[in-house]
């Protein structure tokens, strides 16, 4: 048991801390037959919200018995082309009002039954890393020796636009931080903190409650 204690300590510490904040500006609700679309912001020069993360959040929102129907991002972008490309996407709700004055766009949104547009913006970055590891291979065999550790920080914000009122109804932000370890004694033992996965799960579940008007989310 004493020999397992250091390993157990490492397992316990290779985890993620997630903070979720919600800011509500109006009531929300969604019925059967209505849907939402979750889009990633890609206007920033330095980064763009990864498609994998958007897809992950969409899967969480539409999962479970209280799932909400989510129109796939790529399908929506193609159907609404050219109005949601990085250059042309509405950045504010005032732009959304201008978009809704275009008959073709308004009709296409109605065909999909979209009630809310959710904009995801953020990224995961490595904030710290340290340690060294060296691997060798020879006639008698090979292996790695060393130790590495790094910290990842996932920071995302979801802003929800209501297509009935053409206003923002609130936002949800998530900040997940986790430290990963990689000790290597012949064989590297990865102890990876699933930072982005936890951010996705937390944001997706909170978003589902927010849009569904769950009492726990303060509606």
């Amino acid at each position: 048991m004493h020999r397992l204690l250091p390993v157990l300590c490492l397992l316990l510490t290779a985890c993620t801390t997630t903070e979720i904040d919600e800011f509500r500006q109006a009531t929300t609700s969604i019925s059967d037959g209505e849907s939402i679309v979750i889009l990633g912001r890609r206007q920033n020069n330095n980064y763009e919200t990864e498609g994998n993360f958007v897809e992950c959040v969409a899967n969480v929102v539409q999962g479970g018995k209280d799932g909400i129907r989510v129109v796939p991002e790529r399908e929506f972008l193609d159907a609404m082309f050219p109005f949601f490309e990085p250059r042309t996407a509405p950045m504010r709700t005032s732009h959304l009002k201008q978009l809704m004055e275009i008959d073709q766009a308004k009709q296409r949104l109605a065909e999909y039954g979209i009630e809310y547009i959710v904009w995801l913006d953020g990224l995961t970055r490595r904030t710290e890393s340290s340690g060294t590891m060296s691997c060798t291979i020879g006639p008698g065999g090979g292996g790695c020796f060393g130790f590495g550790t790094w910290t990842d920080d996932s920071n995302f914000e979801a802003e929800v636009w209501d297509l009935d009122t053409l206003e923002s109804v609130g936002s949800i932000s998530t900040d997940a931080t986790g430290q990963s370890y990689m000790p290597a004694v012949v064989v590297p033992i990865p102890l990876i903190a699933r930072v982005e996965a936890n951010a996705c799960s937390g944001l997706g579940n909170q978003l589902k409650q927010f849009i569904g008007g769950n009492p726990e989310s303060g509606t």
Binding site: E48, E50, F81, P82, F83, E85, Q104
Partner: protein, 244 residues
Amino acid sequence: MIRSVASTVVGFLGALRAVRTAAAAAAGVPVTWLKLRGRLPPLLPFLSLLMSSLLAGCAASTIVIDGDYPSPLVGKLPLTVGVYYSDELRNFSYTEINDNTGDDEYIVQGGASQLELFNTLLPALFDKVVELPSPEAADADVDAVFVPSIAEFQLGLPQKTKLKVYEIWMKYNMKLSNPDGEYIADWVMTAYGKAPQENLQTVDAGVQGAAVVAMRDLAASFTLGFKDVPEVNEWLKANNVALE
């Protein structure tokens, strides 16, 4: 070509063996060649694989842009437009040079994709689109002749820019004229696309992603900005085309 090279190498080795056998016989030295037939894989395919690996490391990689472009969700202008695609556009190719060796590193071929883009975009924008064999071939049924061309192309690779994105920037020159060649408008449009660098992603996939985003960017700009080009706007008004 690989098989011919491998065959040449095998032939050389056979000739070398014959020379050594003849030399040993002349010297009165017995020569026993270990017969390995059936114990090792056939020599020719092995040499083919070896030579192809060596040659692949030396040649430039060719990336052919291939993308799907959705039809724009806009109303059509009541015009018949003739479009001419020059050979430069049809066969568009960009070569990225290795900064260290000066050799060709990547060849990006985008001609076919450019045609696919405009053949999707223009029919959504105009009532009728006719492809012309030359700008002068337009007849009286055509309201205007449109000639797109690529004036400049830039490629940003992560290994060179030290950013974690593939980037493509293009500058287009668009020309619109009457069927008799009289100038209507001549304007420049730019297109930009980027694709994040992902783990285990090939350069081909990264460049493809950035190129498709750039061409969608052009299509979006053209669709929403065509009527706002000052000369085009004047021409449309002069021809009583309703502008929404």
